[in-house]
Assembly symmetry: C2
Homo-oligomer: 202 residues x 2
DNA sequence: CTGAGCCGAGACGGTTCGTCTCGAACGCCA
DNA sequence: TGGCGTTCGAGACGAACCGTCTCGGCTCAG
């Protein structure tokens, strides 16, 4: 029996050229017109592609954007499989959070990331994919680094690394998403210092 | 000269009955069908109102929902102009954050709050109104309570209350929005404990 | 060489948009 | 009290986009 209700398309005959053109067009358009006005029709026109080619491979515009953003992230983070570990946890975390701040402030990431976050908030299915595909791989790096710090005695042993992690990233995303105040390196540093003083041993 | 380009409608002749019906219908529908499928047409039909009556008074469905949610919040928080202050900062914060957790988990608030957050992320104008109208009043209460704790010497004097505040609420909203893990009282307690240990004097 | 399947292109009916036009109901002001 | 301007409910209207479909053209497997 076939897994899909409608016979699934043959992925081996898929046009890589069209796939890339669609992902690129989606990223361009979401930056130009915003997520609300982003339409499948416009993506198809910009990519020089039939609409059916999009509907054949993706269930929604959010799914297209998710793939596009994932490809973007994989290019940027090619090879970076670990967070820095100089032994100085505070300095390492500041470095990484500053990088995150720069990414969130970069126009190239901003529009697509916002679109996916917004869609995830009101759409549990997209949310699950977004978390699994984009968020989890990033957070896992943090969690590993925190676990190592815990083994080294720099963080109290009774603390759940996931909770510690959210204490660091939560305030950043909160300020970024709701634009309450500008997102700066100084803020990233302050979050690390204040949070660590609660997590640090002794 | 009139302030608006198109002559503004006369607010004194506005139908209060229609206004309430529209706000109620918007809240109902966003709970039933979700924000994506919420349409002005459906709101008008449910409220027994002409579409023009909505377009005359609101610029978008997000604006309608914002008013509806604000009215909902004002009912719920009628009179609550201050956070509890028993002198025990940790206990007070746990109590309040637990209440916030309950609200976020309550179906009555969830759908509308998510819709407004999602819209705010991709729409700076709605975001500004959302922050000013909904978020700021809540956060101001926290900020006041933290400032008093600071005066009482329970929080280090060099800490910006806004930053301290985001350390508390950021992790909660993060987990709520992205559904990474369930949002519980235990989590609220953990956030307060871990955060305070960084903020507490000595 | 032949056929199945993806491709670009775009027609199609359905839905919602935001505007506009009715006659009816309402409330301010004479 | 009567008149008049404005909002009201209702719905028609063209435009935009939806998701499905049909059509030739092209590519690859057998």
């Amino acid at each position: 029996m076939t897994p899909s209700p409608k016979t699934a398309p043959d992925a081996s005959r898929r046009s890589e050229r069209s796939r890339r053109a669609i992902l690129d067009a989606a990223l361009e358009l979401v930056g130009e017109t915003g997520y609300q006005r982003l339409t499948i029709e416009a993506i198809a026109a910009r990519a020089g592609v039939g609409k059916q080619t999009i509907y054949r491979w993706w269930p929604s515009k959010a799914a297209v954007l998710l793939d596009a953003f994932a490809a973007l992230g994989e290019e940027a983070a090619a090879g970076e499989t670990e967070l820095p570990d100089t032994g100085d946890l505070e300095a390492d975390l500041k470095l990484v959070l500053r990088t995150t701040v720069d990414e969130l402030n970069s126009p190239r990431f901003d529009a697509a990331y916002r679109a996916l976050a917004a869609e995830s908030i009101v759409n549990p299915e997209v949310c699950a994919h977004f978390v699994e595909r984009i968020l989890e791989p990033q957070l896992r790096l943090y969690a590993q680094r925190l676990a190592r710090a815990q083994q080294a005695g720099h963080i109290r042993p009774d603390i759940d690394p996931r909770t510690a992690l959210e204490l660091l990233t939560g305030p950043l995303t909160h300020r970024w998403l709701l634009r309450t105040l500008p997102l700066t390196h100084e803020y990233a540093d302050a979050v690390v210092e204040l949070t660590l003083r609660g997590l640090a041993h002794g």
